[in-house]
């Protein structure tokens, strides 16, 4: 397997074994170097629990440190340090250096360079940059992006005891070279890196810093190149960096020209539940429909009907009705509002009626749940079940509901027949299916087809004579026969067989029937009739 496959993983393992006896010095050195090059580790220790436990155990387990030998190199580097960071005050520099000496007291710390230096480091920014809190913050942020420091430290501190064997002199050299590389790294830290390099670091999940991109051109270059990389994480980072560092006006202007970036910003806002800004941004982008839908979606979870209605009305006014392209949706939202306003009083009075126990209807067919927020069709079923006979000017009247929501004939038949059949009100079923013809004649007509009517009635336990009546209305004879069989309505089966002139099958059927049952008598009666012309 490829060595590099682990990426950071393999480094981590190396670091962990740093102080194992069997690790060669060269390996130690190189791994320490690589770890220190990760300049952002410097302030990481800032972020972890100083852990008195650790230092105490160090002290108790380790021999007295050699003070003098270690103090020297640190003081030697002092002038260089001052030179390198000219802008810093002398005192501050001294503070940093002397802190390093202080840590030198404890040999273990100065030896575990990675951990020791990173411990010393936070004191530097503290003293040196106390005036510029902005940059401090950004250090924090960067440090936050590099989780490995902590781990490395905790790993190294566990294997401290095996250090004694290492030659002190070599360690001094080590310290010096590390200090140099630390300074180099520190200097680099404050230099602007090419955008490509930073993005590559982001892509690989390595520590990085954006704070040096001060010019708008840099910020936009960062964003545009992130977009061309197709990595959402990098895009998001560049967008949020832009948003934090430029005025809202500029941010919006640039975002509008970059749809990909805008999408990522929107996704961030949504995941962050920042809906006001989400909706605003959508409107700025001209995506009014999405804005309206989002606002609508936010109104949906309200459990209180009054609150929900007012939210929906607000959303209707400020979004749906404001855009003529959304007029269809606007009327649907209006329907929703009207439906909720209709359901509330019905539900209240019916709940009272049911609780009082005075209504036989509610006793026989108790309500399964509150009517509130049920779909239109379910509401229609409810009204057909409990309030079928109410006049059209009553809220709960099926006719009124039908009119308001322009419910189609077919839909009305499906639902109303089901509800009336449940109550075994066969007369109502017939009335629903009866249409007045010319000159006052009436006939049965079903927009959904009588096969469907039979299915609904059968599901609701209709008796054979009712089924038979509607089975007879199915025009297609083969279909009539198969439906009659399906709902096992024997009389209708016999009728269908007669209509099909299929004597053979009728005889077969008759032989299976009880000779003296109603169906049996009927079948044999027909078989004995000579007027029928069989096939």
């Amino acid at each position: 397997m490829d060595e590099d496959y682990f990426g950071m993983g393999s480094n981590r393992i190396k670091k962990k074994n740093l102080f194992d006896d069997d690790v060669s010095e060269d390996a130690v050195r190189s791994s320490i170097k690589t770890s220190i090059v990760d300049k952002d580790d410097i302030s990481f220790a800032d972020h972890f629990d100083p852990g008195p436990k650790v230092s105490e155990s160090n002290r108790s387990h380790l021999p007295k440190p050699d003070l003098s030998s270690l103090a020297t190199p640190a003081s030697k580097t002092r002038p260089t340090l001052g030179h390198e960071t000219k802008t810093l005050s002398n005192a501050a520099t001294f503070g940093g250096a002397s802190r390093a000496i202080e840590f030198g007291h404890n040999r273990s710390h100065s030896l575990t360079i990675g951990g020791g230096l990173s411990l010393a480091a936070p004191t530097l920014p503290d003293t040196q940059f106390s005036s510029s809190s902005a940059s401090l913050q950004s250090i924090d942020k960067v440090a936050a992006a590099s989780p490995h420091g902590y781990e490395k430290f905790s790993a190294s501190s566990t294997s401290l005891q095996s250090i004694d064997k290492v030659d002190v002199e070599k360690m001094q050299q080590e310290i010096q070279s590390l200090k140099r590389s630390l300074l180099g790294a520190k200097k680099d830290r404050w230099m602007k890196q090419p955008v490509e390099d930073t993005l590559r670091r982001i892509l690989k999940g390595e520590p990085f810093s954006l704070e040096m991109y001060k010019s708008l051109a840099d910020k936009l270059a960062l964003l545009d190149q992130a977009v061309s990389l197709h990595d959402g994480n990098a895009i998001m980072m560049a967008v949020l960096f832009l948003q934090k560092t430029v005025t809202r006006h500029i941010f919006t202007r640039e975002l509008l020209q970059r749809p990909v970036a805008a999408n990522h910003y929107l996704d961030y806002l949504k995941a962050h539940f920042d809906f006001p800004e989400y909706i605003n941004t959508l409107i700025l982008l001209g995506r009014t429909e999405e804005a309206a839908i989002c606002k609508y979606q936010l109104a949906l979870p309200s459990s209180d009907v009054a609150v929900k209605v007012s939210k929906l009305k607000d959303c209707l006014r400020s979004h749906f009705q404001a855009d003529s392209a959304l007029s269809n949706d606007a009327s649907l939202v209006q329907e929703y509002v009207d439906l909720l306003e209709r359901q509330r009083p019905i539900d209240e009075s019916d709940a009272g009626l049911e609780a009082s126990g005075r209504s036989a209807l509610f006793k026989d067919f108790p309500r399964k749940r509150s009517l509130i927020d049920m779909p239109v069709v379910t509401t229609l079923y409810y009204c057909c079940l409990y309030h079928y006979d109410l006049g059209e000017n009553s809220l709960a009247s099926p006719a009124a509901l039908r009119k308001r929501h322009q419910i189609s004939d077919k839909q009305f038949i499906w639902t109303a027949i089901g509800a009336r059949a449940k109550l075994r009100q066969w007369r109502d079923v017939e009335a629903i299916l009866t249409t007045k013809g010319w000159f006052g004649s009436t006939k049965l007509k079903a927009a959904i087809g009588f096969d469907k009517v039979v299915a609904i009635l059968h599901r609701n336990g209709a008796p054979p004579d009712i089924l038979q009546k509607y089975l007879a209305m199915i025009d297609n004879l083969e279909q009539r026969l198969s439906f009659a069989k399906k709902v096992s309505c024997q009389i209708a089966v016999i009728d269908a067989l007669v209509a099909l002139k299929n004597r053979a099958e009728l005889e077969q059927l008759a032989s299976k029937l009880d000779r003296y049952s109603k169906e049996g008598l009927y079948a044999f009666d027909i078989l004995n009739t000579s007027t029928i012309k069989w096939k």
Partner: protein, 595 residues
């Protein structure tokens, strides 16, 4: 090459991760990661690496019990980070001392770290990553198990997960060698390819130039939604639709197992009977199972003819064990098939399939619409109804404005006004759209309408070019030769058809139009593999093909690709962001309101 290498690698990585946080620790798991981790490592593996308790991360819990060290293994989501920060802050306020490690899977995201920072917990935690990317579900199947990829990328245009796909392809090729030929079909596929190339640039190249995978296809989900919406007809796809297969595990209820308790079962090629029947058309299942039952019976009959003690020993030692096991498996599969039939019987499956097939064929338009309306009016399953509505829109390249308005209004009446949101999502994805009226486009002129750009369906043209709906009525379902058998000959999944076309023709010439309709067809061909479908010398690795579905694929499509492999002598490995079904797919787009 053995895909299990990936599992081994992941296990090593997980072990390092756990060991690097020494001593006993508790693990808090993201519910989404339970099954994947179970497949990759298992609970015992965690326990062996110092994990004492395992918690499930649940919203609303303000703190947890447990020891002084805790590892969170979670997907990088903002809400999840908030939950974790709440845990930490509550526990600190209670005075509990604990060290925390947050492991984001598969990688850490900047926004997540931002949340942790702003919640003030950064000083108390360490952050790490566990690159759980592609892992094997079977010997020819890899998955990221990242179902949110679809909505995130296609609906919200968020490219965050593209990185994971590209990185998984890079890592796969680090393990098995860099594939010389890469084809990208669709816009997202192209992006993945480009990001993959960038990632290769930033790493040094392997010296070893050998490879085990010759060709990679990256395919966008949005090139073919139709195949996603068709009713499955093969056994494995039906099992997934009826019971749900999660990371290769299926949960049978008590009715299927017959003991009332139900059982979990791992469905892989390890199960010999299953391997034989998983790709069978359902109509062929029972005859196959009858044959198998007969074979088992013969085996059992052997016990009557045992001549010697040696025979008997042999029988009891070998045959009997196999026999018992196979019998049990066969019984389970038979009862599962029966359960599927029963479920289908409850819905009026025949009418539904008729409407579906008519829509695909583009015939009986008026009847189809009436049937869809009827489904709405009788408040038939909203998911199945939406499937037909979307199919109608896709196959007719948009509904007429009148049809659209009528269906939408009626659907909202039947299933609730919250589906205004559902309808919007379906429109945004181009699944359920209305045809543009020439008049309105004239009025708007050339100015682009701001707002969502609806992807137009190219069903008719694609169908014509690729012959997706076979003309002949008689598709051989027993010994299939046409990929369309996975949908009873009603439709051929475009991705599978394209893979077959490109592999067998070995050229993209003639596919330009198709490529354009799919949002772009891009090829990076380093090795001309002329005549790879013919026997003879040449690198056998060129016959190993990886097909990566962005945004998920169905078992029907996997089955179709298995047929491509079988017909043309390839080895095809399917990789996907997740395995889905038409119902799960629609469900992920449906607005849900708690009533």
């Amino acid at each position: 090459m053995d895909l299990q290498e990936l599992s081994k690698l992941l296990k090593t990585q997980l072990a390092h991760l756990l060991v690097s946080f020494p001593d006993a620790k508790d693990v808090v798991l993201d519910p989404d990661l339970m099954k994947p981790l179970d497949r990759v490592a298992g609970i015992t593996f965690l326990k062996e690496h110092g994990v004492s308790k395992i918690f499930k991360l649940e919203p609303g819990k303000k703190s947890l019990q447990g020891c002084g060290k805790r590892v969170y293994l979670v997907r990088p989501r903002l809400v999840t980070m908030k939950y974790i920060a709440d845990h930490i802050n509550t526990e600190i306020a209670k005075g509990e001392r604990r060290s925390y490690k947050i492991v984001m899977v598969p990688r850490k995201l900047h926004v997540c770290e931002m949340i942790l920072e702003s919640e003030g917990v950064m000083g108390h935690i360490t952050i790490d990553e566990f690159p759980l990317e592609l892992f094997p579900l079977d010997s020819d199947l890899l998955s990221l198990e990242l179902p949110e990829f679809f909505t995130s990328f296609y609906l919200d245009n968020d490219t965050t997960w593209l990185h994971t796909v590209s990185s998984s392809l890079v890592n796969l090729q680090r393990l098995f060698g860099r594939a010389p030929n890469v084809y990208a079909i669709g816009k997202g596929a192209k992006m993945v390819y480009e990001l993959m190339e960038t990632m290769f640039e930033t790493h040094k190249d392997r010296k070893d130039k050998t490879f085990h995978i010759g060709q990679i296809f990256i395919v966008d989900r949005d090139i073919d939604y139709v195949s996603l919406l068709c009713s499955p007809m093969t056994y494995e796809a039906l099992l997934d639709e009826s019971f749900g297969i999660n990371c290769g595990m299926i949960d049978f209820d008590g009715e299927v197992t017959g003991d009332g308790k139900g059982a979990k079962m791992l469905l892989t090629s390890q199960d010999e009977i299953y391997t034989q029947i998983r790709d069978c058309h359902f109509s062929q299942m029972f005859s196959y199972m009858r044959d198998t039952a007969k074979k088992l019976q013969e085996l059992e009959n052997k016990k009557n003819n045992l001549q010697s003690v040696g025979d008997m020993k042999n029988f009891v030692g070998n045959d009997l064990k196999v026999l018992k096991q196979q019998q049990k498996l066969l019984t389970t599969h038979i009862s599962a098939s029966e359960a599927i039939l029963k479920m289908k019987g409850k819905t009026d499956f025949e009418d539904f399939i008729r409407a579906e097939h008519n829509l695909l064929e583009g015939v009986e338009n008026k009847e189809n619409m009436t049937y869809i309306e009827e489904c709405i009016q009788k408040q038939f399953s909203p998911i199945l109804t939406l499937r037909l509505m979307c199919l109608a829109s896709l196959t007719q390249e948009g509904l007429t404005q009148r049809e659209y308005k009528a269906l939408k209004t009626q659907f909202l009446h039947s299933h609730g006004f919250e589906h205004l949101v559902t309808m919007f999502r379906l429109k945004k994805l181009g699944l359920l759209t209305e045809q543009e009226v020439s008049q309105s486009s004239m009025r708007l002129g050339t100015a682009k309408v701001p707002g969502i750009s609806v992807k137009k369906s190219n069903y008719r043209a694609l169908n014509r070019k690729l012959g997706l709906v076979p003309n002949s009525e008689d598709i051989n379902l027993q010994q299939p030769t046409s990929l369309s058998y996975v949908f009873s000959g009603a439709y051929t999944p475009v991705p599978c058809k394209l893979v077959e076309q490109i592999l067998t023709r070995d050229t993209l010439i003639g596919l330009e139009d198709v490529g354009r309709m799919c949002g772009g067809l891009y090829a990076d061909v380093k090795t001309k593999s002329q005549g790879i479908s013919m026997p003879g010398p040449g690198n056998p690795a060129m016959k190993v093909i990886l097909v990566f579905f962005l945004g998920g694929c169905t078992f029907s499509e996997i089955t179709a690709l298995r047929l491509v492999a079988k017909l043309h002598g390839f080895k095809i490995i399917v990789a996907t962001t997740a395995i889905t079904t038409s119902s799960r797919f629609i469900e992920s787009l449906v607005e849900k309101v708690h009533r």
